[in-house]
């Protein structure tokens, strides 16, 4: 009898944490991945995101007194588990889940319908559906800062800069080495459009997943002798590509990676082969920014940091996680300014906050993030909000920024976004919103 009572009490305690929740909390689900082939990225971003929220709680007492709570759920980068974690976490907290960072293009796709139906914003910062930048068709999906297509145009602009002008791109050869998956194939159309516009020749070469064999691909690249190689990889494909480039004698400073191929975890396994490799980024590395310093002061000094290995604080993925949470917090703040300061916000209200989010240079300074991330201005029409890219080069020890913020070419990207979004709307029978009619 005694044992059964204790067992029941224990079970009740385990399952009853929901009942003990206080009223003034903002629940943010932390559905990331800590195992599997993409764990290095997942653990870094999760660490940055969770640490920033804890820092805001510790330093500012939350947003106007409303503290952030969260719960971790392992998605293993797997669609089914991502959906399950979403379903489990979406009703937690006094107002339900604030928003979701799926951290996987596949999971984002699976959650678009559900998030829209449940009125929970889906933030696919720097990944996900590029055409969701058209907020009229995707009111609840935010591919913030820069989407894949914009990033690609910025890359071509960077190449143009290096060549001495966009007109000098004519006749040049570019190879697009991509991971053979949905993520990898995203930029093929936008490259083809730009190839026509600027007169360069683009060859698309696929690398079968997971990408630890690239011999054949790089032999072909050597045959083509391109001026640039765009590396659109993920996970093990990245260091393998750099090593294969070294093996075939291709200069690494002619390889430009996307921002999911441009973190420390992607270059360190390649050792010497990675020196000189250039990668795009929408955030930079470095622990010297005031915002990161604050995290060290208020979170790590008290022993509550997420990263077991403190040297990872300030790495690219970690800082990316910090950026994710900065957006979360500022969106909540914007929503509170409209719907009630000091009140927990619902997903619908945070959506409004996201759509009216403005993080200008002044605000960045206040946040201690000047140069850390770019200024953002989101609107109903433009769910991207930024569209700028910085380029950095690996010198063997760290990433050095080698360019200023380069804007994307929206004259190319926007028509494609709108066309694709319109087709989606037609397939799904969605009537696009009229932005001018909304406040």
């Amino acid at each position: 009898m005694n044992r059964t009572t204790i067992a029941i009490a224990a079970a009740a305690a385990v399952f009853s944490d929901g009942a003990l929740a206080q009223a003034k909390e903002q629940f943010v689900p932390h559905n990331y991945y800590w195992v599997g082939p993409f764990a290095p990225g997942g653990t870094g971003i999760a660490g940055g995101a969770i640490d920033y929220l804890n820092m805001i709680n510790a330093r500012d007492g939350g947003v106007n007194g409303v503290k952030f709570t969260g719960e971790k759920c392992e998605t293993e980068y797997n669609n089914a588990r991502g959906v399950e974690c979403y379903e489990r976490s979406k009703n937690k907290g006094p107002t339900g889940a604030t928003l979701i960072h799926p951290l996987s293009t596949g999971i984002t796709y699976s959650l678009i319908d559900k998030g829209t139906q449940d009125k929970i914003p889906i933030l696919s910062v720097g990944y996900g559906r590029a055409d969701a930048s058209d907020g009229r068709v995707f009111p609840y999906v935010f591919p913030l800062i820069t989407n894949y297509w914009s990033q690609n145009t910025a890359k071509i602009k960077f190449m143009g800069q290096k060549a001495g002008g966009m007109d000098k791109l004519k006749g040049k050869k570019i190879v697009n080495l991509y991971h053979d998956s949905a993520y990898g194939k995203e930029t093929i159309p936008v490259l083809d459009v730009q190839a026509k516009k600027y007169g360069f020749e683009v060859t698309h070469i696929a690398v079968p997943s997971p990408g630890n064999e690239q011999q054949a691909q790089w032999l072909q690249i050597r045959q083509i002798q391109p001026d640039w190689v765009i590396l659109r990889g993920w996970g093990v494909m990245n260091p393998t590509a750099l090593k294969a480039a070294q093996r075939s004698g291709f200069a690494r400073d002619k390889i430009i990676g996307v921002w999911w191929s441009g973190a420390e975890e992607d270059v360190i396994p390649a050792g010497e082969a990675a020196k000189g490799y250039i990668a795009a980024g929408f955030n930079v590395s470095g622990a010297n920014y005031p915002v990161v310093q604050d995290i060290m002061k208020h979170v790590y000094a008290k022993g509550k940091g997420e990263m077991e290995d403190k040297s990872r604080v300030g790495s690219i993925y970690y800082n990316r996680g910090v950026v994710f949470s900065m957006i979360t917090v500022e969106a909540v703040r914007t929503a509170q300014n409209r719907f009630g300061k000091g009140q927990p916000m619902t997903g619908e209200q945070v959506r409004w906050g996201l759509e009216n989010l403005v993080i200008d240079e002044k605000r960045l300074k206040e946040l201690g993030a000047t140069g850390f991330m770019q200024p953002l201005k989101v609107s109903c029409l433009d769910h991207e909000g930024g569209g700028q890219v910085k380029f950095q080069q690996w010198d063997g020890k760290q990433w050095k920024v080698i360019s200023d913020w380069i804007s994307s070419d929206q004259s190319i990207v926007r028509p494609m976004v709108e066309a694709s979004a319109a087709q989606y709307a037609k397939e799904k029978g969605i009537t696009p919103r009229d932005c001018s009619k909304e406040k």
Partner: protein, 312 residues
């Protein structure tokens, strides 16, 4: 068609195939001696490489780390044999296969639990750069490291061959591989032999792990190497080490040649035929398997495998 390019692809493919064989040899050893298809070999390769590189990064001397890792792999092999295989001794092979898949998960979780999930670089002192002399004279780029790996594989096969032919334990292993019951009948201690076999397979896993880790970096994706080794085993036969080498060469060469030349040759005609853009890239992902499949249709036991005899 550029002849020297063709040779380059061919040579590169052969050398890549040798790397596959390194992993396949581990499978062969265990299958030969205990009839178990050890799917966990990929995870063992990963675990060995990760342990070694983590020790080296923590300041342990290279050779010392090698010895410690070897010891760990031996212990792992013996533990596996005791905990997983001995209770399953008389079960059908499929059950044992499933058990090794379960073991794969355990090893993957354990490796990352103990050593973390960050990727590591592995330096063995041999640079992965093309051989200067060859590049200058004929324009063919063959990596120094690939040649080194081929050398290592050759030495490994030679050492194993000597071990099996000329030592007492080696002969005992061959006896066990031939017929468990008969080996028992002449007094060969089966359990010890199995433990030794798993230990040797652990050693081979370590070698393969070092080679692959130096090539691509040590991270979770290393476990997928096992999938590349399977077609090698199908072609070479599950019980033969020379078969593994030969199978690896065939798989590596055909895979790379197909990946380079099939799109070149077939893209245009197929595009015309179907009226829409046809792009046959990425064949690598299944080509080896289909080759192995076709091979099996002709020779169901592989090149050097034991003939399958069905008794009714």
């Amino acid at each position: 068609m550029n002849v020297s390019f063709f040779f380059e692809v061919l040579l590169g493919g052969l050398l890549a195939g040798v790397m596959y064989s390194l992993v396949a040899i581990g499978f062969v050893l265990i299958y030969k001696a205990s009839g178990v298809f050890n799917f966990a070999q990929g995870a063992m390769v990963f675990f060995a490489a990760l342990t070694f590189v983590s020790l080296v990064e923590r300041g342990v001397n290279f050779w010392f780390a090698l010895v410690i890792t070897l010891a760990v792999m031996v212990v792992l092999g013996i533990a596996t044999e005791k905990v997983v295989l001995r209770p399953l001794v008389n079960q059908p092979p499929i059950t044992l296969f499933m058990a090794t898949i379960g073991l794969t998960f355990v090893l993957e979780g354990l490796s990352q639990l103990v050593w973390g999930s960050q990727p590591h670089g592995l330096e063995l002192g041999i640079q992965d750069v093309p051989m200067e002399s060859l590049a200058q004279s004929s324009g063919i780029f063959i990596s120094q490291f690939d040649l080194f790996a081929a050398l290592v594989a050759g030495i490994l096969v030679a050492v194993l061959a000597l071990f099996f032919q000329y030592t007492r334990i080696g002969r005992a292993l061959r006896a066990v591989a031939d017929d468990h019951q008969a080996a028992l009948a002449v007094g060969i201690p089966l359990k010890h032999i199995w433990a030794i076999v798993w230990a040797v397979a652990g050693f081979v896993a370590l070698v393969a792990g070092l080679m692959w880790g130096a090539r691509n970096g040590v991270q979770y994706a290393l476990t997928f190497i096992a999938l590349k080794a399977l077609p090698v085993l199908l072609i070479g036969g599950f019980e033969s080490v020379p078969g593994a080498i030969l199978g690896g060469l065939i798989v590596g060469a055909s895979e790379k040649l197909a990946e380079v030349y099939v799109p070149q040759m077939l893209n245009a005609p197929l595009t015309e035929f179907f009226g829409g853009a046809v792009n046959l890239q990425g064949i690598e992902s299944w080509f080896a398997y289909v080759i192995a499949l076709l091979f099996l249709l002709v020779r169901p036991q592989g090149l050097f495998g034991e003939k399958i005899i069905d008794r009714v």
